[in-house]
C-alpha cells in the first residue's frame, strides 16, 4: 500500500527540496532532487508488479463521505492502467527533470522552473491514480494552471500572450469537465470511480433535457468529459494553444507533448465502462479524431519551423489516438500514448543539440527537383505496385492471421489495418524511391524489415491489450460499442483504399519523372490550400473573431448599463 503513495510523495519531496533553502546550496539541492523522482519511478515499477500479482490497489486517506470535515477526499485506486501511467509519468519525468537541471542552469527563473516541473509530476501521478472524480477535477485544473505557469516568461511578450491564451482555452475544457463531474454525481450519487462505473453499468438512466428528446446519462456525462479532454489533448478546434508553446523551454515542451497532452486517451480508458455504454460519444470521438488527424498532419507538412512541425505532428497523433478510442480500441490508445510520449520526448529533448549542430554547420536543403523522365514501362509499374503496395498488404494480413487478430468481427481492426497499410506502403515507397527498386537485395531487405516490424508491432499491441484488459469479452464489447454504421464503414474503407492506390500511383509517376498533369484551376486551388494550411486553416483567427464579437457585445451592454 505504501508504494503508490510513495510514488506521489517522492516528487512532492523533490519540489520542497528545490523550494526550501538558501541560494548557496540551491544547485546541490536541485541536482539531489532528481533522485526522489527517480525513486518514484522505481516505486511506480514496483507498484505495477504488485498490481499485476495482487490486482487493483485501493487506498483511502480521507473518506469521500465528508466525515473528516474536509471538502476534498484523498484516495488512490491503482489498477493496471493507473500503474502503467504512473510508470510512464515518473519515467519521462525523471529524464525531463534531469535534463532541466542542466538545461536551465543559471537561468533567471531556474528555481521556480525546477520546482514547478517536480510539482507537475506530482500532480500528474496523482491525477492518474486518484480514486475520486472530484480530485481528478482538482488535479486536472491544477495541471492546466501549472502548464500556463511553466510556459510563462514575463520578460517575453509573445510567451506571455501564449501562456494567457493557453490557460483560457484550457479553462473551457475545465468547465466542460466540471459539468460532466457534476452530472455524474447527480445521476449516480457518487464520484468514487469504481463505484460510479459499477452504478453506470447497473443503473440505466435516461435524461430528458428537452421534452421528447431522450439521452442516456452515460452519453451526457461521457460527452462532457470528452470535451474536457479534447481541449487538453489539442483536438480540433481547440488545438491552437499547442502551437503557441514554441517559446517555452524545451523540457516543458517535452513534458507537454509526452504527458499532459494525453489527457483524453487516459480519461476514456479510466472510465472505459462508461464510454462503452455510449456508442454516440464514441462515434463523435471518432469523427473529431479523424478531422484532427487530417488537419494536424496536413498542417505539419507545410511548416518550416521544426518545433511547429513537431507541434502539428502531435496534433495529428492526438487525433489518431482519439480516433482509436472512438473505434473502441481503448488499449491501443494507451499503447499509442505511451509510445508517442517516449518518441516525442526524445525528439524534443534532442532538438536543441540538432539546432546547435545546424547552426555550427549550416547546410541548406536541396531544392526539390524532378528526376529526368524515364521511359514508361508496364513491367516497372507492375513491379512497383506489387512490391510497395500489394506485398505490404499481404504481409499485414498474414501477420493478423498468425496473431489471431479478428478482422471480420471488428471494424476497428480493419480500419487500423488500412492505416498500417498506408503507413508501411508510404514508408516503402519513400525508402525505395521506386526507380531504384531494380536492386533486389534492397527490396528484399525492406520487405523483411516490414515483416519483422509488422509482426513485432501487432504482437506488442495484442499483448498490451491482454495485459490492460484481461477480459477479452470486455475488449470485444468496446469494439462493438465503437462500431460505425455499416454504410459509413464501407464508404470509409473504399475511400481509404482508393486513396491508397491513387497516392501510390501519384508518387510512382513523380519518382519516374512523369508527374500526373494537374489542370491550372486545380493548381490554383492547391496554392490556396497551401496558404490555408500554412495559416492553420485560420482557426486561430476564427477564435479571435469570435472573441472580438463577444467583447463588442459586452462593451455595448456595459455602455448601456452606464447610461442606465
Amino acid at each position: 500500500m505504501a508504494l503508490p503513495l510513495l510514488t506521489v510523495l517522492l516528487p512532492l519531496f523533490s519540489t520542497l527540496l528545490v523550494v526550501i533553502g538558501g541560494p548557496e546550496s540551491f544547485h546541490r539541492r536541485a541536482r539531489l532532487a532528481a533522485w526522489p523522482i527517480g525513486l518514484a519511478f522505481c516505486a511506480a515499477v514496483a507498484t505495477l508488479m504488485q498490481v499485476v500479482v495482487e490486482g487493483p490497489l485501493r487506498l483511502e486517506l480521507i473518506a469521500a463521505d465528508g466525515a473528516s470535515g474536509l471538502a476534498l477526499p484523498l484516495g488512490m485506486y491503482v489498477d493496471r492502467l493507473a500503474a502503467i501511467m504512473m510508470v510512464v509519468v515518473t519515467g519521462i519525468g525523471t529524464i525531463i527533470y534531469a535534463y532541466s537541471v542542466r538545461s536551465m542552469y543559471q537561468d533567471q527563473f531556474e528555481r521556480r522552473f525546477l520546482a514547478l516541473i517536480a510539482f507537475k509530476i506530482t500532480v500528474m501521478v496523482y491525477l492518474v491514480s486518484t480514486s475520486n472524480l472530484l480530485m481528478m477535477v482538482v488535479c486536472w485544473q491544477c495541471r492546466g494552471f501549472l502548464l500556463a505557469l511553466l510556459t510563462h516568461n514575463h520578460t517575453h511578450p509573445q510567451t506571455l500572450i501564449g501562456s494567457f491564451r493557453t490557460f483560457t482555452v484550457l479553462r473551457i475544457g475545465d468547465i466542460a469537465f466540471l459539468g460532466g463531474v457534476i452530472l455524474a454525481q447527480q445521476v449516480y450519487g457518487t464520484l468514487e470511480i469504481p463505484l460510479l462505473l459499477e452504478r453506470a453499468v447497473t443503473m440505466p438512466v435516461v435524461l430528458e433535457p428537452v421534452a421528447g428528446w431522450h439521452v442516456s446519462a452515460a452519453t451526457a456525462v461521457a460527452l462532457l468529459l470528452l470535451v474536457g479532454g479534447m481541449t487538453k489533448s489539442a483536438q480540433f478546434p481547440f488545438h491552437t494553444w499547442l502551437t503557441r508553446q514554441l517559446y517555452a523551454p524545451t523540457p516543458v515542451t517535452a513534458l507537454l507533448h509526452a504527458g499532459t497532452i494525453n489527457a483524453v486517451g487516459f480519461v476514456i480508458n479510466r472510465l472505459a465502462p462508461l464510454y462503452g455504454l455510449s456508442p454516440t460519444t464514441l462515434q463523435i470521438a471518432f469523427v473529431i479524431g479523424l478531422v484532427t488527424t487530417l488537419l494536424g498532419a496536413s498542417m505539419m507538412l507545410v511548416q518550416s519551423d521544426v518545433k511547429r512541425m513537431l507541434g502539428f505532428s502531435t496534433v495529428g497523433q492526438m487525433g489518431y489516438m482519439l480516433m482509436e478510442c472512438g473505434l473502441g480500441a481503448f488499449s491501443l490508445a494507451v499503447f499509442h500514448l505511451v509510445a508517442h510520449g517516449l518518441f516525442k520526448a526524445t525528439l524534443f529533448l534532442s532538438s536543441g543539440s540538432l539546432i546547435n549542430q545546424a547552426r555550427a554547420e549550416p547546410i541548406f536543403p536541396d531544392t526539390p527537383r524532378l528526376p529526368p523522365p524515364r521511359p514508361a514501362s508496364w513491367g516497372i509499374w507492375l513491379l512497383g505496385l506489387v512490391t510497395t503496395l500489394v506485398i505490404p498488404l499481404v504481409i499485414i494480413l498474414v501477420t493478423h492471421e498468425l496473431l489471431h487478430v479478428p478482422l471480420l468481427d471488428s471494424q476497428a481492426n480493419v480500419i487500423f489495418l488500412l492505416f498500417i497499410w498506408l503507413t508501411t506502403s508510404q514508408a516503402l515507397t519513400t525508402l525505395a524511391r521506386v526507380q531504384v527498386i531494380s536492386s533486389l537485395s534492397v527490396l528484399v531487405g525492406l520487405l523483411l524489415v516490414l515483416v519483422a516490424a509488422a509482426f513485432a508491432y501487432l504482437w506488442a499491441v495484442e499483448s498490451f491489450t491482454h495485459f490492460l484488459y484481461p477480459d477479452h469479452q470486455e475488449v470485444l464489447a468496446y469494439f462493438a460499442a465503437g462500431a460505425l454504421p455499416k454504410v459509413v464503414f464501407d464508404a470509409f474503407v473504399i475511400t481509404a483504399a482508393a486513396l491508397a492506390v491513387f497516392r501510390w500511383h501519384y508518387l510512382f509517376r513523380l519518382a519516374q519523372g512523369r508527374p500526373i498533369a494537374v489542370p491550372a484551376v486545380a493548381t490554383e486551388w492547391l496554392r490556396r490550400l497551401w496558404v490555408m494550411l500554412a495559416n492553420g486553416y485560420y482557426v486561430d483567427e476564427a477564435w479571435q473573431w469570435a472573441g472580438n464579437v463577444f467583447m463588442r457585445l459586452a462593451r455595448r451592454i456595459d455602455a448601456w448599463g452606464d447610461r442606465a
Partner: protein, 449 residues
C-alpha cells in the same frame, strides 16, 4: 416566514448581539483617544477587531442556532483586521478605520441577533453605507442614485418586514435581501460600496454585505412561494450574465471586482431558486468564498493605490512582478481563488451547491457554468496587466511591508481554509433527491442507440 417572536428573542439575543456589536462600537469611541497618532490608532483598531474575534470564539456555541453558523461571524473580524492592516498608517485614513469598526459592529450584531435586533443592526449598517456613499461623492463621481435607491429598498424591507401583511410579506422580505446579496437590478448598493468607498471600508463591506444578505435570505425567505423562486431563478441568471459581461470590459479594477462580485453572487440566488431556498451550509461556503476573494482583491489593489495613487489605471502600472515579488505571489493566488480554481472557497462552495441541484436544472446550470468560466478571462487578464504588462522604469517599486503581507496572507489563508475545511459540506451518499430521471430499459436502449 419570520422566526422568533418579539420579546423572547429580544431578551435572549440582545446580550449576545450587544456584546458582539458593542465591542467594536465601544472601540470606535475609545479609538478617539488615539486620534492624534495614526499608527497607534490603526494598531488599536486592529486590536479591537482581534478582540471581536476572541469574543466570537467565546460565544461560538451560540452561533450553532443561527442560520449560517459560526463561519461568517468568525470571518468578519479577521476581514476587518486584514482590511485595516492593508492600509498604510496615514492620518487621512483614520476616519476610514473607525468606519470599518462601526460596520464590523453592526454586521456582527446583524449576524448574532434574532428578529428585531438583527433587522435593526442591518438597517443601521445600510444607513451607514448610504451616508458613506453620500459623503464620498465628488465632482467627477456624483452620487450613484441607482445604488442609493437599492439601499433604500433594502432599508425599507428591513424596517417593514415584521409589520407587512401576508400578501406583501414575501416581497418585503425579498426587498430586504436582494440589495445586500446583489441581484440585478438591485445590485447598485453593493456595486457602489465596493467600487467607490475608500480602502478598508470597501474591502470589509465587500465581504459583510453578501454574508448579511445571505443571512437575511436564510432567515426570511423560508416560505417564499414557488413561482417567486422561479422568477428569482431567471433574474439570477440574467444578473449573472449581466455582471460577467460588464466585468469583462472594465478598465477600472474596483469596478471589475464589483461587477464580478455581482455576477458570481447572483449565482447563489440561482442555486437557491433551484432548490427553493438557500442550501446551507453549502451556500454559506460559496458566498463567503466569493466575498473573501473580492475582499482580497480589493486589499491587493489597495497596495497598488497606496503606492501609485487613487486614480491609477491598471494599464498605467506594469511589470510589478519584477520589483514586488511578494505582492505578485499573493496577488496571483488571490486571482486564482477569484476565478474559481481549487482548493479555494469559491470552488468548494460552487461544487457543493452544484451537486445538490436537481437534474431538472440542467438548462440553467449550462448558463451558470458559462458564467463561472468568464472570470478566467477578466481576473487573470487584469492580474497579468498589473503584474506583467510593459515595463515602467520610471515607477519606483516597493514590495509589501509586513502589515500588508499579514493582510494579504490572511485573505489567502481564509480562502484556503473555507475551501478545504468547510465542515464536510461535500459529503454525498446518494443520487440527487429531486431528479427527473426516467429509468426504463426500452427507453435506455433507444437513447443509447
Amino acid at each position: 416566514m419570520m422566526q422568533g417572536t418579539g420579546l423572547d428573542a429580544l431578551t435572549t439575543d440582545v446580550p449576545l448581539a450587544a456584546l458582539l456589536a458593542g465591542l467594536p462600537l465601544a472601540g470606535v469611541a475609545a479609538g478617539l483617544v488615539f486620534w492624534g497618532n495614526a499608527r497607534l490608532l490603526r494598531g488599536f483598531c486592529v486590536a479591537v477587531a482581534v478582540g471581536s474575534l476572541v469574543a466570537v470564539g467565546l460565544v461560538a456555541g451560540r452561533f450553532a442556532a443561527t442560520p449560517l453558523g459560526l463561519l461568517p461571524a468568525a470571518i468578519l473580524p479577521v476581514v476587518a483586521a486584514a482590511a485595516l492592516l492593508g492600509q498604510p498608517a496615514h492620518r487621512e485614513h483614520r476616519l476610514w478605520w473607525l468606519e470599518t469598526l462601526v460596520c464590523l459592529g453592526l454586521a456582527l450584531g446583524g449576524l448574532a441577533g434574532a428578529d428585531i435586533w438583527q433587522h435593526a443592526c442591518k438597517a443601521a449598517l445600510v444607513l451607514v453605507v448610504m451616508f458613506l456613499l453620500m459623503r464620498q461623492q465628488t465632482q467627477f463621481e456624483p452620487v450613484a442614485w441607482w445604488g442609493m435607491a437599492a439601499l433604500v429598498v433594502s432599508l425599507a424591507g428591513l424596517l417593514f418586514v415584521r409589520s407587512a401583511g401576508a400578501r406583501l410579506a414575501p416581497w418585503v422580505a425579498l426587498a430586504a435581501c436582494v440589495p445586500l446579496l446583489p441581484l440585478v437590478p438591485f445590485h447598485g448598493g453593493y456595486a457602489s460600496s465596493v467600487a467607490r468607498l475608500p480602502g478598508s471600508t470597501a474591502g470589509f463591506l465587500a465581504v459583510a454585505l453578501p454574508l448579511l444578505g445571505l443571512h437575511s435570505a436564510a432567515t426570511l425567505l423560508g416560505d417564499l412561494p414557488a413561482d417567486m423562486w422561479i422568477g428569482i431563478g431567471w433574474l439570477a441568471l440574467a444578473s449573472a450574465v449581466w455582471g460577467a459581461l460588464r466585468a469583462l470590459v472594465q478598465a477600472d479594477f474596483r469596478r471589475m471586482v464589483a461587477f464580478g462580485g455581482v455576477s458570481l453572487l447572483s449565482l447563489s440566488w440561482w442555486f437557491a431558486a433551484s432548490t427553493s431556498g438557500p442550501r446551507l451550509p453549502a451556500a454559506t461556503v460559496y458566498v463567503a468564498g466569493v466575498a473573501l476573494a473580492a475582499g482580497g482583491l480589493l486589499a491587493a489593489w489597495q497596495v497598488v493605490r497606496s503606492r501609485y495613487g487613487d486614480a491609477i489605471d491598471p494599464r498605467g502600472v506594469g511589470n510589478l512582478v519584477a520589483g514586488m515579488p511578494k505582492f505578485a505571489t499573493l496577488f496571483y493566488v488571490l486571482g486564482l481563488a477569484a476565478m474559481g480554481l481549487p482548493p479555494f472557497g469559491p470552488f468548494t462552495g460552487f461544487m457543493s451547491q452544484a451537486m445538490d441541484l436537481p437534474l431538472a436544472a440542467w438548462g440553467g446550470l449550462a448558463v451558470v457554468l458559462g458564467v463561472w468560466l468568464v472570470p478566467s478571462w477578466y481576473v487573470i487578464g487584469m492580474v497579468h496587466r498589473v503584474l506583467f504588462g510593459p515595463e515602467r522604469p520610471e515607477l519606483a517599486q516597493t514590495d509589501l511591508v509586513p502589515p500588508e503581507v499579514v493582510a494579504l496572507t490572511a485573505y489567502v489563508c481564509m480562502l484556503a481554509a473555507v475551501g478545504i475545511v468547510p465542515g464536510g459540506v461535500l459529503a454525498r451518499t446518494g443520487p440527487s433527491t429531486i431528479a427527473t430521471v426516467v429509468i426504463d430499459e426500452a427507453c435506455f436502449e433507444e437513447a443509447t442507440r
